[in-house]
């Protein structure tokens, strides 16, 4: 059973797979602290469940539904697509001090971090 604050397994797996594929495609890497990666992917999956779109979990919104519909901050957001800027630290360019060497994270690794 999922913790009520967590995403469904289906959405988590979808966002996990997206994150790996997108990192490879853009030549970006996950954070040296995999806890950061895990938390962000769980947050994206949770928004996918709740809003139908993976809205960035590292921002505050007046109206989450309206923001998801506007799509600007849906992952991958416009700043990421245009300039490889991810303030959530999910996708880091190799010159970033916090970039690790991995473009992979397993489902269990994520849940080990996000389980209460």
């Amino acid at each position: 059973m999922n913790n009520p604050t967590q995403a469904t397994d289906k959405s988590l797996e979808a966002m996990r797979h997206f994150s790996e594929t997108y990192a490879q495609r853009t030549g970006t890497y996950f954070c040296v602290d995999p806890g950061v990666t895990a938390v962000v992917i769980e947050g994206l999956a949770k928004h996918k469940d709740d809003l139908g779109a993976p809205l960035c979990p590292c921002r505050h919104y007046e109206d989450k539904e309206a923001e998801a519909a506007a799509a600007y901050w849906n992952c991958p957001c416009v700043p990421m697509r245009e300039r490889k800027e991810c303030h959530c630290m999910l996708f880091l360019t190799p010159d970033n001090d916090f970039a690790g060497e991995s473009q992979q994270i397993s489902f269990d690794e994520i849940r080990t971090v996000t389980n209460p």
Binding site: T5, C31, D33, G35, V36, T37, V39, V40, E42, G43, L44, K46, P57, C58, R59, H60, E62, H87, C88, M89, L90, F98
Partner: protein
């Protein structure tokens, strides 16, 4: 025990705006990765400046009123309040030295 207490929409006025000492507020959210990185830095600051600065945390998901009032967008955002006014802010997972330097200006 955490050195930085949680504040809410209802306790913000008393705990932050009416504080006798400057207050550092860590605006965070549960599924924000960089918030995890900055949390230990905030705890260290709380211990280092004990008695000089009050350090508190505000969950923006659960307390949208204060977060919206101060125009919080990117999280984490660290905001400094003095005598009821916002005097400075730092956005993102910053190193301890950056945060300490910003804070020192208001002591």
């Amino acid at each position: 025990m955490s050195a930085a207490a949680q504040v809410t929409d209802s306790s913000f006025k008393q705990e932050v705006l009416e504080s006798d000492v400057p207050v550092l507020v860590d605006f965070w959210a549960p599924w924000c990765g960089p918030c995890r990185m900055v949390a230990p830095v905030v705890e260290e600051i709380a211990e280092q400046y004990i008695g000089q600065v009050k350090v508190v945390k505000l969950n923006t998901d659960e307390n949208p009123g204060v977060a919206s009032q101060y125009g919080i967008r990117s999280i984490p955002t660290l905001m400094i309040f003095k005598a009821g006014e916002r005097v400075d802010m730092v956005v993102g997972a910053v190193p301890k030295t950056t945060l300490a330097t910003t804070l020192e200006k208001y002591l």
